[in-house]
């Protein structure tokens, strides 16, 4: 998955520096090129984060709109980092709402077909994915970036702009929260 900083050419950008970086304007952004290069991986990341295809498309669109309309767009080479961070952060506001919606979602019917091994396996996986999405924001971010995007602690820290120690903290807490869901797969 071409999402991690070191594998995609993105760089560490401090929030403060990013907000104050040079006189680049939105007219310099190659929106078409950025979309072709990054939209699909970002969309998949957003789906994994939210579990909702329509919402994921909205988030990715919003991220690109923000790049295009930013008073100080990201510097060349940092666009993916900017987009990725924006998608992850945008998913937070929708996360709580989705959690409530899932809590009230009807369970799938327990018919004979659902008992088949493959279907059962997929349902278990879905439960695990839902459990990940029910985690607090940063725990979910770290878990998805680690196990979907194959990022290292340091890469996750750079994407989320938190310390590697915080990444470890979030992963430890995520592990504790996911115990039941993971045991169901054994």
């Amino acid at each position: 998955v071409e999402l991690c900083v070191n594998r995609s050419g993105g760089g560490r950008v401090y929030g403060t520096v990013m907000a104050m970086a040079g006189p680049r304007t939105a007219e310099h952004v190659d929106l078409d090129g950025l979309f072709r290069a990054h939209a699909t991986p970002l969309l998949r990341l957003a789906v994994v984060l939210t579990g909702d295809q329509d919402l994921a498309e909205e988030l990715v669109q919003e991220a690109f709109v923000r790049v295009a309309r930013a008073a100080a767009p990201p510097q060349p080479g940092t666009e993916l980092a900017y987009l990725r961070r924006t998608v992850v952060n945008l998913s937070h506001g929708h996360h709580r709402r989705l959690r409530v919606a899932r809590r009230h979602r009807p369970e799938p019917a327990g018919d004979a077909a659902a008992a088949e091994t493959t279907a059962g396996r997929r349902e278990d996986q879905r439960r695990v994915a839902d459990a990940v999405r029910a985690l607090p924001d940063r725990q979910r971010d770290c878990t998805v970036l680690r196990f979907y995007a194959d990022c290292t602690d340091r890469e996750i820290a750079e994407i989320l702009d938190i310390s590697p120690g915080s990444v470890k903290t979030h992963l430890h807490r995520a592990r504790a929260a996911l115990t039941d869901a993971l045991e169901a797969l054994r």
Binding site: M20, F35, Q53, R85, Q125, T143, L171
Partner: protein, 378 residues
């Protein structure tokens, strides 16, 4: 998989399968999406203007004009000279000196301490920045609350800190530096007036975590991964020092009176809940081109090291859990924020080169009814 990874191989594989299955069912981003982006990207953005102006005003107020210069005139990065390259997963073996084997020096003759302040600024676990009376523990006023961090923000302001992680005060007694996590980035530092005159901040002014301000008021020191950042509060460029040793986590820095020396606390051990159990302090002299390590002191297991001005001490990390430790600008007072206790003051009046252990009972315990404090400064 890292040695400290909490997930087993089987759990990691299960998570990968579960999350990848969702991604595999996702269609590629199509032309309709791009059309939508183009349509919205062309819309007027007049709403931005007040916030751009507000951000500019904040930045000008704190004298960060130098950071606005683009290109190669930005941060300076230097390596620590002649540093060994330890295994980052293992604690560093220290030279066999007295300073590295014991946490504190013996007590000397009592010295006159500067008075404690009347007020503290504390951070609560529910995201509030409050001014606290030191004697009574009474909350005097609230400076910032993040109960709903996005409520007061414009739609396109990419600032939504979801918790306050730390606090430091400028010696002018007015400016409070507030460290937040994690929107738009962990270690976004905001500035707010202690009298509330500036209102709640909306844009970060600096970056980093574990911060401290020099007694001369010029330097705001903070960490970002292995980078030590020295922000010039008079408007000069930020100096950046690469401490080099990948894999270590730095928890807090203490900067001396004129920004020429920094003591950084480095984590050596955490428990399963990721509470810090054990740390060491590294003293770095900041020269023009490099940060030179001049001393390193490891606390005993079960204690956290603290240091400033070539003095060292430690506090127990047992029960109650230490949330934060800090030393005042004179190196005379230590402040500990501990879970279940609140704030405790310790006088550090040992001889040069060391502090005494905190006396029993602690000199000053500030009653705090909660919610739990995570940091405090004065």
């Amino acid at each position: 998989m890292t040695p400290t990874d909490p997930f087993t191989e089987a759990e990691a594989a299960a998570l990968r399968d579960a999350l990848t299955a969702d991604a595999e069912e996702t269609a590629e981003a199509g032309a309709e999406m791009f059309d939508g982006i183009r349509a919205r990207a062309g819309a007027p953005r007049s709403r931005r203007l007040p916030w751009v102006l507000a951000a500019a005003a904040v930045l000008l107020t704190v004298g960060l004009g130098a950071l606005l210069i683009p290109g190669d005139s930005g941060d300076e990065q230097v390596d620590v000279a002649d540093r060994p390259d330890p295994d980052p997963t293992q604690p560093t073996e220290l030279p066999d000196t007295a300073a590295t084997t014991e946490t504190t020096a013996s007590a000397g003759d009592p010295v006159e301490l500067p008075p404690r302040p009347d007020e503290l600024v504390g951070v609560t676990e529910d995201g509030r920045l409050v001014v606290i009376d030191v004697d009574s523990g009474e909350e005097l006023r609230e400076l910032w609350a993040l109960a709903d961090p996005t409520a007061s923000l414009p739609d396109d302001a990419e600032i939504a800190p979801n918790h306050i992680a730390g606090v430091a005060l400028h010696p002018n007694g007015r400016d409070v530096f507030v460290e937040t996590c994690c929107e738009p980035a962990g270690g976004s530092i905001f500035t707010v007036a202690i009298d509330g005159s500036t209102g709640e901040p909306t844009q970060p002014t600096h970056g980093g975590y574990g911060m401290d301000v020099s007694a001369d008021g010029r330097w705001l020191a903070a960490m970002s991964s292995n980078l030590l950042l020295l922000h010039d509060l008079t408007g000069g460029r930020t100096r950046t020092f690469d401490l080099g040793e990948e894999g270590f986590e730095y928890a807090r820095v203490a900067v001396n009176e004129d920004g020429t020396e920094v003591t950084a606390e480095r984590v050596l051990e955490r428990d399963e809940e990721f509470r810090m159990l054990h740390s060491e302090a590294v003293v770095l002299r900041l020269e023009d081109e490099e940060a030179v390590e001049v001393d390193r002191v490891r606390a005993e297991p079960g204690r956290r090291a603290i240091g400033a001005y070539a003095r060292f001490g430690s506090v127990s990390t047992g029960t109650p859990t230490v949330e934060s430790i800090r030393v005042d600008a004179t190196g005379s007072w230590g402040l500990e924020v501990a879970e279940g206790i609140g704030i405790v003051w310790y006088p550090f009046a040992g001889p040069p080169g060391g502090w005494t252990d905190p006396p029993e009972p602690a000199t000053g315990q500030v009653p705090w009814p909660g919610p739990r404090l995570v940091d405090a400064a004065w």
